[in-house]
């Protein structure tokens, strides 16, 4: 906490965000977005050009073109003070560094294609600085920044590992012979020396050069002040670097023959690139940085850039685009070595956008404090409200830790959680194996499993939520969540059963050919997992009544035994149902029942698959599959009905069936209490597994002490199981009061409204 008072507050700059109204900024934002989109187009275009033009030549042309334009606009020589010799030398160093960085960047572009380059290389300085601060300093800026950094790294790793680009393999085959200069050759060998594939090398190269770029930018700030403005520096820098590159280019063009057929065809795209990548973006960014805060700028531009890059990557090599831009035909369609848009790239693009928005979010420090004055040393003093101190951003690990603790506290949620973990592990193994062997069946089955896990997640969440404390709004507490969750799970199963039924009916008419080779191991694995689940959950709520699942049977072959198990489980569901009815408040937990039924249904599914596979393999009965699934659908349906019925009864506020008799007796007893005339409007309903609520009106004789009656009634009904009761005691005079007042509810209401409409009602006594 003392960090807030340290000098960090001063260094972090602003005192709270100065929120400029959006309306004024709209045109700058639009300008920024347009320039970013144009830049994406330019990068894509330059990737195409780089296929024919040598990289050094290309950079030279870019620098020269922009230098010419900038000289025209900026007039660095005619305006401003003269530049000393030392400054010229600094400029030279600066531009050499700049050349190297842009060389690296464009080389990375040739390696991994425009989309990946944009994703990796075009982060604004704010984002990267925040990232580096998190990674290499202790006071990174709180858990949210850590989260952002983790996301960033995940995105890079995603690009490295999960991006299976077909082109990469192709390019790796011909690293030599394709390169026509010592420089590219050197870089290639350097990357090959690292032992990674071309494309991955490109990713690494781009990350390194991104860091270099950011360092370079911050280093050049001082120089820009010396020279007289960033714009002037930029213009001069371009000029000097083109001068630096000139000899190299001359040597190059003298020694190697150019691959370009006609330079005239390239003028237009090159001009576009110079305009969009070098000039427009620079100016717009400068303007926006002046008008808006840098973080905001960064957020918008990153999002625009990445999204447009994704779109462009999809449509760039589309034949439709080719038709539109027939001008570029000489460039396009060469060799067809386009980088494909793989899933990994899309995912990492999304993660990049997230990460950069988190990282560029303004630091919270000193934001909520109000400046109260300055200390004698001159450091500002802040006054923090309690709000600012309490509202620290919740750390993600701590949140996870706490919820884990909560989950593990109770038996139910612990069971669900362990089983969920098991299920998820199985699913991911299946998914990975499916991706590995490129088997579509396994992948889709994995996704099905993932979907099934949603029921478990729902159950887990309900089990957690049930324990929340009652709030002002949910005055009875959240106990009903578990009933709702059981209900939803049951409905869900019904829907699934219905669809399975329909599908199996349609298969009955037309049995399809199933390839059974992969099915058996997977379904046996699923069966094992589910059997574990059934055991766990049946222990959870069978109180020794139905031990239908001896765990010693596990190692056996599961084909016939599985069926027996399933039936046992099925019967068990009924058993537990009966138990819940007869037990009398023993712990009817609809949530667990829903989860259990779900697991049971899954088990039945795998058993069915195994049996039908066996039948098909052994006897060639293709009809076995639909019949099996038909039976399973019916079984699921039947086993869900009791759950749904019970949940419905609870939800429509039925008097709890297991307490019905006791309640009748209790009410009879209430009537016999001394002084009680009668009762009316007795309502009892089960709110959650542990709470039965009730309300009752009792008419008593005039001379009876009310308090005593209330106590007696409460104790009688508490014996009957009602633990949340409110008793209204009414005497004769009360009715006279009420009937004298009005004859019914609606009249009171109407009267009130009339009075409200004439604004004469001050307080409740006015009616009297």
């Amino acid at each position: 906490m003392d960090e807030k008072y340290s000098s960090n507050v001063l260094s972090s700059g602003k005192l709270g965000m100065v929120e400029v109204p959006n309306a004024r900024l709209t045109r700058y934002i639009i300008l920024l977005l347009i320039s970013k989109v144009l830049k994406a187009v330019g990068i894509f275009e330059s990737y195409d050009i780089l296929k024919v033009v040598h990289i050094v030549q290309f950079i030279f042309i870019l620098k020269l073109g922009s230098a010419v334009v900038l000289l025209f606009f900026q007039k660095p020589f005619s305006s401003g003070k003269a530049i000393s010799k030392r400054q010229w030398i600094k400029l030279l160093k600066h531009s050499v560094l700049g050349c190297i960085i842009s060389l690296l960047g464009f080389f990375g572009l040739t390696l991994c294609g425009p989309l990946r380059t944009l994703l990796l290389f075009e982060h604004s300085d704010v984002v990267v600085l925040a990232l580096l601060a998190v990674l290499f300093t202790t006071s990174g800026g709180g858990p949210s920044k850590t989260r952002g950094a983790a996301l960033f790294i995940i995105a890079v790793v995603c690009l490295l590992l999960f991006d299976n680009d077909d082109l990469m393999a192709k390019m790796a085959e011909h690293p030599e012979g394709h390169h026509d200069s010592a420089l590219t050759h050197f870089l290639y060998t350097a990357i090959a020396f690292l032992g990674v594939a071309d494309h991955k090398g490109g990713v690494v190269l781009l990350v390194v050069s991104l860091c270099l770029k950011v360092g370079f930018h911050s280093a050049s700030r001082k120089l820009s002040v010396e020279v007289g403005g960033a714009k002037r520096l930029y213009a001069l820098d371009n000029l000097v670097s083109s001068a630096v590159l000139l000899p190299w280019v001359i040597v190059l063009s003298a020694t190697t023959e150019s691959k370009v057929e006609s330079w005239s065809g390239l003028i237009l795209p090159l001009a576009l690139i110079v305009f969009s990548v070098m000039i427009l973006e620079f100016y717009v960014e400068a303007v926006c940085a002046a008008k808006m805060e840098a973080p905001r700028c960064a957020r918008y531009s990153t999002a625009a850039l990445f999204l447009s890059a994704l779109l462009l990557a999809h449509f760039w090599s589309h034949p439709f685009t080719d038709r539109l831009l027939s001008v570029r035909t000489p460039l396009h369609g060469r060799g067809g070595t386009e980088h494909v848009l793989s899933g990994g790239v899309v995912v990492s693009a999304v993660i990049f956008v997230l990460a950069s928005s988190i990282l560029s979010a303004p630091s919270r420090k000193g934001q909520k404090g109000t400046l109260v004055g300055y200390s004698p040393e001159g450091t500002p003093l802040y006054n923090f409200m309690g709000d600012a101190l309490q509202h620290t951003s919740q750390s993600l690990p701590r949140f996870i830790k706490e919820s884990l603790k909560q989950i593990l506290e109770e038996y139910d949620s612990r069971q669900i959680f362990y089983f969920l973990c098991l299920n998820l592990a199985f699913t991911f193994v299946e998914l990975f194996y499916g991706v590995w062997t490129n088997s579509l069946g396994l992948i889709s089955d994995g996704f099905h499993m993932l979907f099934d896990c949603s029921a478990l997640v729902l159950g887990l969440f309900a089990a957690l939520m049930t324990r929340w404390k009652a709030t002002k709004i949910y005055s009875y507490g959240y106990g009903r969540v578990e009933i709702l969750s059981g209900f939803i799970n049951g409905l869900f199963l019904m829907v699934i059963a219905f669809f399975v039924f329909v599908e199996s009916v349609s298969r009955l008419f037309d049995p399809p050919n199933i390839n059974t080779d992969m099915l058996t191991p997977v379904s046996v694995g699923g069966l094992l997992v589910n059997l574990v689940g059934i055991c766990a959950f049946s222990h959870a709520h069978s109180h020794g009544a139905a031990k239908s699942c001896p765990s010693s049977d596990h190692g056996h072959s599961h084909n016939e035994h599985g069926h027996g198990h399933a039936h046992g489980g099925h019967g068990h569901a009924h058993g537990s149902h009966g138990h819940a009815h007869g037990g009398g408040g023993g712990g009817m937990n609809a949530n667990m029942r829903g989860v259990f039924l779900h697991v049971l249904a899954d088990t039945l599914g795998s058993v069915g698959v195994i049996i039908s596979t066996l039948l098909i393999n052994q006897f060639g009965w293709l009809i076995a599959d639909p019949i099996c699934s038909l039976c399973i659908a019916v079984l699921i349906f039947l086993s869900v009905i009791p759950l749904i019925k019970d949940a419905c009864e609870v939800l429509v506020l039925r008097a709890p069936p297991e307490h019905e008799k006791e309640l009748d007796h209790a009410l009879a007893k209430v009537e016999k209490i001394d002084g009680v005339l009668s009762y009316r409007d007795a309502h009892f309903w089960r709110h959650s597994a542990s709470m039965v609520a009730g309300t009752i009106h009792i008419q008593v004789m005039a001379e009876v002490l009310e308090q005593r009656v209330i106590q007696q009634v409460t104790s009688v009904l508490k014996d009957a199981g009602v633990n949340n009761l409110s008793v209204q005691v009414e005497k004769e005079a009360y009715f006279q009061h009420m009937s004298g007042l009005s004859s019914g509810f609606h009249e009171v209401l109407a009267m009130t409204q009339q009075m409200e409409s004439v604004q004469c009602l001050k307080d409740g006594t006015c009616i009297m």
Partner: protein, 387 residues
Amino acid sequence: MLPLSAKDDEYKPAKLNLLAKTSGWFRAIFSDQTSRNLFFFLLLNLSFAFVELSYGIWSNSLGLISDSFHMFFDCTALLAGLAASVISRWRCNDSFSYGYVRAEVLAGFVNGLFLIFTAFFIFSEGVERALEPPDVHHDRLLPVSVAGLLVNLVGIFVFQHGGHGHSHGDDGGHGHSHSLFNGSANHKDSHTDSHGGHGHSHGGHGHGHQDQHSHQDQHSHQDQHQALYSQDKFLPGKGSSKQILQGVFLHIVADTLGSVGVIISALLMQKYDLMIADPICSMLISLLIGVSVVPLLRESIGILMQRTPPTLDHALPECYQRVQQLQGVYNIQEPHFWTLCTDVYVGTLKLLVAPDADARWIQTQTHNIFTQVGVRQLYVQIDIAAM
């Protein structure tokens, strides 16, 4: 002189019992306009599904058969609505002391859940198809979906018409039994011109919000409430609630949207060969369905979980304050307020009062105060503080 008989049951053979039961159901269905509409629409839908099924079996087209099963599944929503609207009018008995009025909330909830499921399935299928667009045979698709669209349009028209008449009736001061619907009906009416499902579904969505606001200023709805509370005590009696209607209406709108989407994508595919149109259409539709269902679900979950009614959120603190200002009241304990069904609120309250306070006066006053904000059934337990 007619002979008098005490043995009534001898005059009822078992066969006739079933008949009587069925006729009783029919009477129950036909006694209320909403359930009548629901019933007719269900019949229409079922017949369409049967025609489709039989034609599919006859022409041996698997697509038609599966589509007809889908229609059957859709019918379950209607069936749930119909059952709920009948059940909710059953009288209360010993075990169901509040009656069956909650069935309507439950029906709305189930319908909403089904819609969410459907939307999810459609969405996942759309994603799957977007990744690899399959070859859709659009030769038979168009007529079937146009017919489905017609059926669903009839449904929308019927349910709007019902609401329409009511909103008129209300303006004239009629005391209709289900004037509850008119809040939504009015809103939807304003959208009638923008034909096509898009506007409709937004109408439904907006309705969820609009309704909550409309209760804030109750005095502007004065005569509507008068008509509404003409029933005795807390039982809403015949009024079929907006939950059922909202659920059913959303379902029909979803179906209509589905057919519209199929038609559009079929046209796009035929004219321009844009295979991607089909998955994009279905994804958009499922998103629309999902978004429009959310208010209904949130509302019904709130009711089922005994949430304090959102319309009372602002009124209650004021009431507490007023009760506490009554002479002799020390404290309010365990205030529970919840919604039984649409617009019927139930509350329980424990008051800690001084030993010398006039308990009866306090009770009456409390009842008055809470009646004014619309709590129909109130239980006030008065506990006398120990000295």
